[in-house]
């Protein structure tokens, strides 16, 4: 019977083409709007490192000025000061830890046909690569020895490596950066976590950092931190005073062996803070916070207000389309009362009528889903025009594809419940008499 009803449904679509087209179109538009915003939300708020996201933590130690501070007020900056970063790295309270800051260097390519250019990079400590499961195309992270010495070693991202060295393996090759020779020790594979959760403050290029050098090297060369440097007090000029000051410009991550060790880490940090207060720092006496990956993305508002607005809007729009569809279905089905009367007189039960019309609604839902999918692709393309980072996020994966049809089908079926139920209530006798 399903196939029979399905065929009937298809045939009935053609009966009143204008009304059907309108219904399918409106449903499709509502579905497209919802799916495209959902797709973006899905990418933005999805777990970028499932399996590890509950044991990677960002610590927040508030070292701001006590004047005018109110408990619970939003902090000016959530990065870390250099002294705290170095202390925590040294004390090693968790399985792994890394500190990093963004910076820029000039690169003079070995090939003379490519002019010198300014590149954007990251200066993390060695543990970074293991902590974030960073894939390597060639080579590997620099050694502990390199790090200790602040050696001139660099890891390039795939795009830059190909730009400078073509397809060849550049490990071991030399490169002039900020007028000094650097040795390439590795090339990153394709690594595009969406969002780039490891460095949410003062984010780098949307396509990822172009190079990575040891933080010790960057400090030794007195490279200016790119991104955001926040100084709540006046400090002396010069790099040395930046390192010694309470200015925050470092981003820090801990990795614990399991999620259970979080409490341990928390109490360690609280002890550390207590020690520092005795030394006269951390005057605000603010509570110590630990954020895992998802909480960090939440606190940094990765899913911005505008994106949330779009999602709400799309949802409201879908509801409007739904209500509209109910009305149109009512109209469509009410015109079929004579047919229902005859079918019932010929022996169809109420349940069978219900099935028939619900399946017909389902056919409309599928048609709406198909059209909605096309429209959703268009909508995503439009949204991608907002910015390059948006363009990276505005994509559809198989999950979303399936979701499109699911939403369309469900919406149509929900909308069709009332009209279908009404259609079943038709009394055969009255309908037959009026012929």
């Amino acid at each position: 019977m399903f196939a029979y009803y399905f065929k009937l449904g298809l045939r009935n679509l053609r009966r009143n083409p204008a009304l059907t087209a309108l219904m399918v179109l409106i449903l499709a538009v509502g579905v497209a709007a919802s799916v495209s915003t959902l797709a973006i939300l899905h990418v933005m708020s999805g777990d970028p490192i499932p399996g590890k996201s509950d044991r990677l933590f960002v610590p927040f130690i508030d070292n701001g000025q006590p004047d005018g501070y109110v408990l619970g007020a939003e902090p000016v900056d959530m990065q870390m000061a250099y002294p705290d970063a170095m202390n925590l790295l040294r004390k090693h309270p968790a399985e792994r830890a890394t500190a990093m800051f963004g910076t820029g260097m000039s690169i003079e390519p070995p090939r003379s046909d490519i002019p010198a250019f300014q590149a954007y990079g990251l200066a993390p400590t060695r543990a970074f690569f293991a902590m974030f499961d960073v894939p390597f195309l060639h080579g590997q992270p620099w050694t502990a020895d390199d790090e200790a010495r602040g050696a001139n070693v660099v890891i390039l991202n795939r795009t830059v490596a190909e730009k400078l060295f073509g397809d060849a393996n550049p490990v071991g090759q030399r490169l002039i950066m900020n007028r000094e020779p650097f040795t390439v020790v590795g090339v990153l594979g394709d690594w595009n976590p969406m969002p780039r959760y490891y460095k949410l403050i003062g984010s780098g290029p949307a396509t990822g950092e172009e190079f990575m050098i040891p933080m010790a090297t960057a400090v030794r060369k007195e490279l200016t931190p790119y991104g955001s440097v926040n100084c709540s007090q006046v400090r002396d000029p010069g790099y040395a005073s930046l390192l010694a000051s309470e200015c925050t410009w470092i981003q820090f991550w801990f990795e614990t062996r399991s999620a259970f060790e979080r409490a341990e880490l928390q109490s360690f940090l609280e002890n550390y803070a207590g020690e520092q207060r005795k030394l006269g720092r951390l005057k605000r006496n603010a509570p110590i916070e630990l954020y895992d990956v998802m909480a960090w993305m939440e606190v940094r508002k990765v899913v911005g207000n505008d994106t949330k607005l779009s999602a709400w809007l799309a949802f409201g729009f879908l509801i409007l389309c739904l209500v509209n569809t109910v009305g149109l279905l009512l109209a469509k089905f009410s015109a079929r009362a004579p047919e229902v009367g005859i079918r019932r007189a010929l022996g169809a039960s109420r349940r069978e009528i219900f099935q028939q019309f619900l399946i017909e609604t389902g056919v409309i839902g599928l048609a709406g889903g198909l059209l909605g999918l096309l429209l959703a692709f268009g909508a995503l393309a439009l949204i991608g025009m907002q910015s390059r980072s948006m363009a990276a996020m505005a994509r559809m994966d198989w999950e979303m594809l399936g979701l499109t049809f699911a939403i369309s089908l469900c919406a149509a079926l929900v909308a069709g419940l009332l009209p279908t139920w009404r259609a079943c209530q038709v009394t055969p006798a009255i309908q037959l008499k009026s012929q």
């Binding site: 003079e108 207000n305 409201g316 409007l320 009305g327």
Partner: protein, 410 residues
């Protein structure tokens, strides 16, 4: 006007009217809020930057790849300024530390008195080694610009000098010293005993900050005199003669590259592009909201027309009977229009309530602004009009139904 019987008949057949009223309510609520946001974003993106000719202004970020001493770097900067000034078509050049709407720049907290508990606000910190006021074409409304002797040479790596003179923007002056002239007053870089102050020597009408934040911070800016050097590079703002920007940009770049013995990294950006980039997301959101609003109107319209047509068709016999009993065409037309106005009104009332509720949600959860009443009022009027217009077609067709239908035997 037979309002009571129409209402009574409507209430007996609630489903259709409720569906239409729901659509009107939803659309009105969403539309009012959406258009409010669009207008807000438009206003934000239309804020004046303070520049006299944005289309003719651009800037270079220069990085020299040579191991100069700081003094050599200073000399390079002076030389580069000469080179740039010599390019034909250049109206004015100035060394600057950041550019408006470039989304890259620093801010400082400010206070009228350093004994204050909390700072009065935050302001963008522009440093200039020449006359930024002249190059960007800012409008001085009080006091004066810096004289060359006011501008110290500051080695960023070693010099701890803090600025003693400052030019502020009018909004900032109005906040710190309302109703009084700002020139001569001292402005402090923060609160607390260690916060230093600088004397205000001039006020410009507008200068938007580098990040162009929404709210006060975006329009509070400070210009301080300093020829900064020592970090291996510099930023130069250039205003060309009107309409000649692109040509001057090309020639200036060539001239600058030629003037240096060692290769340099040169980044060029126009203020026009900066404005577009800064507001790209807002503009995109606005377009999306406008598109959705248009679709909302269309869909609601179609819903009303559909329902009205359905009811007319369902009541053909009844309409014939009414005509037989003496109703004129006008009476039938009026019946349907009144019926429709009732339903639309119910929808409008629901929409206003829903709109206020939606806005409260937006304000509390998404940090949006409160909705002014005028949007709801305008929206109500629009939907009333749409309701009447949409119903007109079906109502007209209803009025054309022949009274002879009454005697037909079905």
């Amino acid at each position: 006007m037979e309002i009571r019987p129409i209402l009574s008949a409507l209430l007996r057949n609630k489903t259709g009217p409720i569906l239409v009223a729901m659509q009107v309510a939803l659309s009105l609520a969403i539309l009012a809020n959406a258009l409010h946001i669009v207008n807000e974003r438009r206003e934000v993106a239309a804020r004046p930057s303070g520049l006299s000719d944005e289309a003719a202004t651009f800037y270079f970020s220069v990085r020299n790849l040579n191991q100069d001493t700081p003094d050599q770097m200073l000399a390079t900067i002076k030389r580069e300024l000469e080179v740039l000034r010599a390019v034909p078509g250049v109206a004015s050049v100035a060394q600057v530390s950041q550019m408006p709407m470039s989304q890259s720049g620093g801010t400082t907290s400010i206070a009228a008195d350093n004994r204050q508990q909390r700072e009065s606000g935050y302001a963008a910190t522009y440093f200039t080694g020449d006359s930024m006021v002249k190059t960007l074409g800012l409008k001085l409304v009080e006091g004066r610009d810096f004289h060359p002797q006011d501008i110290p040479e500051v080695n960023e790596q070693t010099n701890a000098e803090v600025p003693t003179l400052v030019i502020v923007t009018k909004p900032l002056a109005d906040k710190l010293w309302p109703g009084a002239p700002a020139v001569g007053k001292t402005m402090y870089f923060g609160t607390g005993s260690s916060a230093t102050g600088a004397q205000v020597i001039g006020v410009v009408e507008d200068l938007i900050s580098a990040h162009a934040e929404i709210g006060e911070t975006g329009i509070f800016s400070l210009i301080m005199p300093a020829r900064q050097y020592g970090n291996g590079g510099a930023m130069y703002a250039i205003r060309s003669e009107p309409g000649q920007r692109d040509r001057v940009m090309q020639e200036a770049e060539q001239a600058l590259r030629k003037s240096s013995a060692t290769p340099m990294i040169l980044r060029i950006k126009t203020v026009e592009d900066d404005r577009k980039d800064r507001y790209r997301a807002d503009t995109a959101l606005s377009w999306m909201l406008v598109t959705v609003s248009a679709l909302l109107l269309l869909i609601t319209c179609s819903g009303i027309v559909g329902m009205a047509t359905l009811w007319v068709n369902q009541r053909r016999k009844q309409i014939g009977v009414r005509r037989a009993l003496g109703a004129r065409k006008l009476d039938i037309l009026r019946y349907f229009i009144v019926e429709n106005v009732m339903i639309t009104s119910a929808g409008v009332v629901g929409g206003v309530l829903l709109g206020v509720g939606l806005n409260a949600l937006l304000v509390s959860r998404l940090e949006m602004a409160r909705l002014p009443l005028v949007y709801l009022v305008a929206g109500a009027i629009v939907f009333w009009a749409i309701g009447i217009l949409s119903a007109y077609g079906p109502a007209w067709r209803a009025a054309s139904i022949s009274p002879a239908l009454a005697t037909r035997s079905t």
